[in-house]
């Protein structure tokens, strides 16, 4: 499994709930507990609705704490409520509270942007997001600090009250405008930048992450747009201020609650999606076709990017369900999580999945893997067998390749060594003949024997690997072979050059077949036909001999079957007694399977 998480503690959860409710109550009802001339009359419907909105945030914070107590998400959610509650102190009619309130204006908006960009894990992933959030906090801090240092509330129109600013150091109406209303012009810019950040995340998001991002992506730009409109209205004159008040008191004021609502709904939907695990159990009990387990798991995990890996047969590395080598990262990366499953202490499988499904529903992976444990075990065995089969094929093909290379090497050694020496020796004998009249007969005899040896070595070398096969291809080599065969042989082979292993397999098939036809089958004629069909070379060798050949019997045929199989080819033998023999081979040109 992924990193071990801290376990949530019920006591802390209760504390969090209590704190959240208190903050929510302060935010919405606090002003009414304080007798202030500033507050507007309590609108019970509006305040209750706003309170419920606050409670959604608290519930979201509790849910975030429960699934990831050590993560930042629940802290961010709680902090946003604390800032909301802080907003209530504006009704407290003291200079200090008033100034603190002034100093924290806009903090809620930036925190909201932070929360949106960090959704749903609470962590800012991309550099763009991090710099946007850090930059926003920094600009806000400078602006508000600067504001309280230069703003003299008594200098202008300070209706409805004119408190003293205890932090005022350098009164300046111009600077106050710049730090205050001036900088609030940046709020629409922030809305646009956050929308860009969200769009970037959306484009890169996996399907699972998009499911969670959807409510945020829909609501956040709208909410920030409303905030921007409110700020712009607040700094403008007269008529537009009415618009700000309308926005603050209309249902749009509850828009922000869609964020925790979406978060909670996402968790709920993810929980409900656990039903897919029950479906998986049913599907697995019916049996999935071999290799189909990945698709079944991907459906149950709701992660189409899921990949399965099993320990390779040798214990080193991993293979996919088809037995092909696959790379399993040693550690979880931001784009790929790795869960290594074990069974009885032995590695069973590795699941490579989208990290977003952990955030969506942390327990799902564990549930799916325990349901699928037995099926994974089967699939592991099948994958390992496939991998071993692939290795065996590859090694068989390497063995044939090595044997062919060895035959070529021996042929060349004979050609360059023994054959040249024997011919040179025969020439020396020939030179000696004229000089020793007595030994003439002996030298003649020796020369005869030497020439016989030269012919034998030549036939041996040629049989190992006829050079014309490499030089001119299988068609020329088979034509030359037919010339030397004691049977009339009709040859029809396309002149194309083919991969060396294919040419060798086809040539030795024909050579062996013609030898059998002439020596064992008592044939009077034979025919060799080859055709190229897509990626296959079809070779047919037929004779009119006595038949009765058996691919499992004669060693020659068994060798041919092995040689063909090594490069992925097949051989069919039809040899009814008295009815001649027909061998049909199909050889893939692209090399054998498992190469």
């Amino acid at each position: 499994m992924a990193d071990p998480r801290a376990q949530p503690r019920p006591g802390d959860l209760a504390l969090l709930a209590a704190l959240g409710v208190v903050l929510a109550a302060v935010a919405q009802f606090g002003p009414f507990l304080y007798a202030s001339p500033l507050r507007t009359p309590l609108n019970p419907v509006f305040a209750t609705a706003a309170f419920i909105g606050e409670l959604l945030w608290v519930a979201a914070a509790m849910a975030a704490y429960w699934r990831d107590p050590s993560g930042p998400m629940w802290k961010l959610l709680l902090a946003s409520r604390a800032v909301s509650a802080l907003g209530a102190i504006w009704v407290v009619n003291t200079s200090l509270t008033w100034t603190v309130w002034e100093a924290t204006i806009g903090l809620g908006t930036v925190l909201f942007a932070h929360l949106v960009l960090a959704f749903p894990s609470g962590r800012l992933v991309s550099r763009y997001d991090r710099w946007l959030v850090i930059g926003s906090y920094a600009v806000l801090a400078v602006a508000r600090l600067g504001f309280v240092l230069v703003w003299d509330p008594r200098s202008g129109n300070c209706f409805p009250r004119c408190p003293v600013n205890p932090f005022l150091m350098w009164p300046s109406a111009d600077l106050a405008w710049l730090f205050g209303p001036g900088l609030s012009l940046a709020i629409p810019l922030l809305a646009v930048l956050v929308a860009i950040g969200l769009a970037r995340r959306w484009l890169r998001a996996s399907p699972a992450l998009r499911r969670m991002l959807l409510p945020v992506a829909l609501v956040a730009p709208l909410e920030l747009g409303v905030s921007a409109a409110r700020f712009l209205a607040a700094m403008s004159q007269d008529a537009w201020q009415g618009v700000g008040i309308t926005l603050s008191t209309s249902p749009l004021a509850f828009l922000h609650a869609a964020i925790p609502a979406g978060f909670l709904l996402g968790i709920l939907a993810a929980r409900l999606a656990r039903g897919a695990i029950a479906d998986l159990a049913v599907e697995l009990s019916r049996g999935v076709p071999l290799g189909g387990l990945r698709d079944a798991l991907a459906r149950a995990l709701r992660d189409p990017t899921l990949a399965l890996a099993f320990p390779a047969p040798g214990g080193v590395g991993w293979v996919d369900p088809h037995g092909q080598p696959i790379d399993v990262p040693a550690e979880t990366t931001p784009s790929r999580s790795v869960a290594r499953l074990e069974r009885d202490g032995q590695p069973l499988a590795a699941l490579l999945y989208d990290p977003a499904i952990e955030a969506e529903d942390p327990g799902r992976l564990g549930a799916v893997s325990s349901v699928a444990s037995m099926a994974l075990e089967n699939e592991r065995l099948a994958a390992q067998v496939r991998a071993q089969l692939g290795e065996v094929r590859a090694s068989r093909s390497r063995i044939v390749e090595a044997a062919d290379a060895e035959r070529r090497r021996i042929e060349r050694d004979l050609h360059d060594g023994a054959q040249q020496r024997l011919v040179a020796l025969a020439m020396r004998l020939d030179q000696a003949r004229g000089r020793t009249a007595d030994a003439g007969a002996i030298i003649d005899r020796a020369t005869e024997e030497l020439l016989a040896a030269i012919r034998e070595v030549r036939d041996l070398a040629h049989g190992l690997h006829p050079p014309i096969l490499t030089e001119r291809g299988v068609a020329a080599a088979v034509e030359a072979l037919a010339e030397r065969t004691t049977l009339p042989v009709r040859v029809s082979i396309p002149p194309d050059r083919l991969p060396a292993d294919v040419e060798a397999a086809a040539y030795f098939l024909v050579a062996e077949s013609l030898t059998n036809a002439a020596k064992h089958a008592g044939a009077t004629a034979a025919e060799v036909r080859a055709t190229l069909d897509g990626g296959l070379l079809h070779v047919t060798v037929s004779d009119d001999g006595r038949g009765g050949a058996d691919a499992s019997g004669g060693t020659g045929l068994v060798g041919l079957v092995d040689r063909l199989a090594a490069i992925g080819g097949t051989l069919a033998v039809e040899s009814p007694p008295g009815g001649g023999t027909t061998l049909q081979a199909s050889i893939p040109l692209g090399g054998g399977a498992g190469k």
């Binding site: 060349r412 050609h415 360059d416 054959q419 040249q420 020496r421 011919v423 040179a424 025969a426 020439m427 020396r428 004998l429 020939d430 030179q431 020369t447 030497l450 020439l451 030269i454 012919r455 030549r458 070398a461 040629h462 006829p466 050079p467 014309i468 490499t470 030089e471 001119r472 020329a476 034509e479 030359a480 010339e483 030397r484 004691t486 049977l487 009339p488 004629a525």
Partner: protein
């Protein structure tokens, strides 16, 4: 080209040094002048810049690829030095290569099994024929083609004597050469040749070496 007073000038190209030296010795002993030796095609090309032998004896298989360098080189040499006779030696005889060699111009070329060099009189005969602009084809090619089992063929119509003469034609021998070999007079040979051609349905060809190609192609088809 052959001047009776002047020994034939021979160049050798073969990467087997031992054999090359033995061959040079034999040829010198037989009255030829060995004017140069080369171990591969590059050396051979350089050698032919310096000397122009009457006959070049070269191995089919040489470095660097040890396949058919000698055969390929012989095409180029025939183009660049048409007066040099070429005798190609090979450890194995392939009919296809014989035809490839004869295809451009069958005059002054030969293709022999390497072991033929062990009988210096046979080799000397071949060298002289090539130097005279004749063609020499190894008896192995001919016997292989003549010995091919055939279902039904005009070859069955030939008398044993005519088959023998057909074989000698396929080896590249001229009428007078055949007459010498069979110890008959040239007129008799001519009569046989005419009958053979008519039995096989071959057009009479001008010149002995055109005849080689026609006969070989006929036998191979």
């Amino acid at each position: 080209m052959t001047d009776a007073d002047r020994p034939l000038r021979i160049a050798l190209a073969d990467d087997a040094v031992l054999l090359r030296e033995a061959l040079a010795g034999s040829l010198t002993a037989a009255g030829f002048e060995v004017v140069g030796q080369a171990g591969d095609v590059a050396e051979l090309t350089a050698l032919l810049q310096r000397v122009e032998p009457d006959v070049l004896i070269l191995d089919v298989r040489m470095p660097p690829t040890h396949t058919t360098e000698g055969l390929e080189a012989s095409h180029a040499i025939r183009r660049d030095h048409p007066r040099i006779g070429i005798l190609l030696l090979s450890q194995y005889i392939e009919t296809r290569y014989a035809l490839e060699l004869l295809r451009d111009d069958p005059a002054g070329v030969g293709y022999l099994l390497k072991e033929r060099v062990t009988r210096i009189e046979q080799l000397a005969d071949a060298v002289r024929r090539v130097a005279d602009g004749g063609s020499v084809i190894d008896p192995e090619v001919v016997s292989r083609l003549l010995g091919r089992p055939r279902a039904h063929s005009p070859l069955d119509e030939l008398t044993p004597r005519e088959r023998e003469i057909l074989g000698l034609m396929a080896e590249g021998r001229s009428n007078s050469g055949i007459a010498e070999q069979l110890v008959v007079d040239a007129k008799t040979v001519e009569g046989h040749v005419t009958r053979i051609f008519s039995k096989l349905g071959l057009e009479p060809t001008g010149g002995d070496h055109r005849r080689v190609l026609a006969v070989l192609r006929y036998l191979r088809s």
